[in-house]
Symmetry: C2
């Protein structure tokens, strides 16, 4: 493979100039016009490509960033991967993708691997609360503030929760419920509840919640819902689910119970997941601004201003009707 790959030396010989001159031309440093033309011609003629490895070895700049995610099969993660990759590409960066399955040890191993591969930075959506991040390598965290010196980017979960409550009340609900299935480890997404609850209380609306961890059988949710079924319909008339996935599952459970959505209960999810990536929403939802989240991460990681980096960046969310509310 490298056998046939021309090097700067070859270019220098072909163009009849010195090695250093070639390097300067490649890197856009000032050089005599006639020399530049000769070098550029030789580059084209031999089809020269810089060897990023050699460059990285020498100058500690690899134009590569690593994205660490639990997986890429879930639409939210897929969206992040897509847009982070695009944001990086816009800056001529390549993306190394590491998948962890949310296992703390794997997350840690990924960080070590990144160190080996000398990426210029890491964007990570991780759960390991004790993740060791070697200093010197820029790290931006998604949805999780796990160290004050590591900038975290997330949606404005708190306001998202508030918006959900506000919307449900605006749509005529009087008795609200919050359902949550998620990681037992704390994260920014937990604020969805806080915002929702806060608004309920400030408006004096009835509030109830079910807080579960990942892995809880659906039966538990089913029971919760079943107990609230009344002859006329349902004792709660507005439900906020912490994710679209949960909202979708709840929708199915309610359908099985002959509770009509949105007539008997109105439902709002969170995330803004679309079928097949772009074919419409599963439910009314608080949509996360995924492209902007991605761009914020990349910008925070690479656009080195001298400015102090905010420890938390919250991007505004947006209410998206999707058929499970009466609007």
């Amino acid at each position: 493979m490298k056998k046939n790959m021309p090097t700067m030396k070859d270019i220098a010989k072909e163009a009849g100039v010195a090695l250093g001159t070639v390097s300067k031309v490649i890197n856009g440093l000032p050089v005599g016009e006639s020399y530049r033309l000769r070098v550029e011609a030789a580059v084209k003629k031999l089809g020269y490509q810089v060897n990023q490895y050699a460059r990285g070895l020498r100058s500690d700049k690899t134009y590569t960033a690593a994205l660490i995610l639990p997986g890429v099969n879930h639409p939210y993660f897929a969206g992040l991967a897509q847009h982070v990759c695009e944001s990086l590409a816009r800056r001529q960066y390549r993306m190394l993708l590491y998948l962890t399955g949310s296992q703390p040890e794997v997350e840690q191993a990924c960080v070590h691997m990144v160190r080996q591969n000398k990426a210029d930075g890491i964007i990570g959506l991780t759960y390991n609360p004790e993740l060791e991040v070697p200093e010197g390598i820029p790290f931006v965290s998604i949805d999780r503030c796990f160290r004050p010196d590591i900038p975290c980017v997330s949606s404005d979960n708190y306001n998202g929760g508030r918006m959900a409550a506000e919307k449900l009340l605006e749509l005529g609900c009087t008795s609200l419920g919050f359902l949550r299935v998620g990681s037992p480890l704390p994260g920014e997404a937990d604020k969805r509840r806080d915002g929702f609850k806060a608004l309920c209380e400030s408006r004096g609306a009835a509030y109830e919640e079910l807080w579960l961890n990942d892995g809880t059988p659906l039966d538990v949710i089913s029971d919760f819902l079943q107990k609230r079924k009344t002859e006329a319909g349902f004792s709660l008339d507005g439900l906020f689910c912490c994710t679209d996935l949960l909202a979708w599952q709840v929708q199915n459970l309610l359908a099985q119970m002959d509770v009509d959505v949105p007539r008997d209960v109105q439902l709002i999810g969170f995330d803004g997941i679309q079928r097949f990536g772009d074919q419409g929403y599963y439910c009314s939802t608080i949509a996360q601004p995924i492209p902007q989240l991605a761009e914020a991460c990349v910008s925070l990681l690479l656009d080195k201003g001298d400015a102090m980096k905010p420890s938390l960046t919250c991007l505004p969310v947006r209410y998206q009707p999707g058929g499970t509310t009466r609007d």
Copy 2:
């Protein structure tokens, strides 16, 4: 960043051995027991990590592979990315992800970038029929045979088409239709039609088709369906759609037309896409074995046997009921 990173030289000094000895220990080459222990202790003490860039520079082995995809937002692509990444990780390889938006020039640019970054190989799902692949860098293609010397991996699309027809006939259909929206550029997926049609003909079943390119407005499909609506129901009683996405769109159109699925028409898609990645199918479908496809690609790319590489590897598909058929 590198300031604090210990190098082999540091290890050698710490352990009081020569540089070459350290290298041998790191690479598992035979070395005196006492030396090995000393080196290993030093490695642990200083927290040494190999610099893959330096290694790559020297030995042209980077333990990195590139995956080139149109995007990662669509569930099929997301599944491929997920499983290719896992298959690579199992072999201690990292994955560089390049996204092209199916644009031929971008695809070509990605191939060039990979060359710069000296990946050990490329797995690509590309459309550019004239994609130039520099020799010397292993390339495995997904769903597209575009050069005889480049191994292609895909599902057994032909048999998938046959299975769809067979299943529809088995379920009582007598008048079958094939619907297709896809790239105008030829690919392995086109064989879905061939298999479907061949089985229809061999069984003497009525066959009809609609062959469209990406970007065609839904109205065209809608018109096609509308024309086949009869008083009693629908003039076709079995429909095979070339993708689950199309099957889902057709399902919606039929619902709008008050044609009942699966009562009036039975519907089979292709791909095996699940909602939220793992929450059940959109429709009855011919499911692609995505983990196996990924593993096949990686194996073909990295497991260098002296064996000749097959120019086409077709993996078996599986029929998956999903509510749009009467089984």
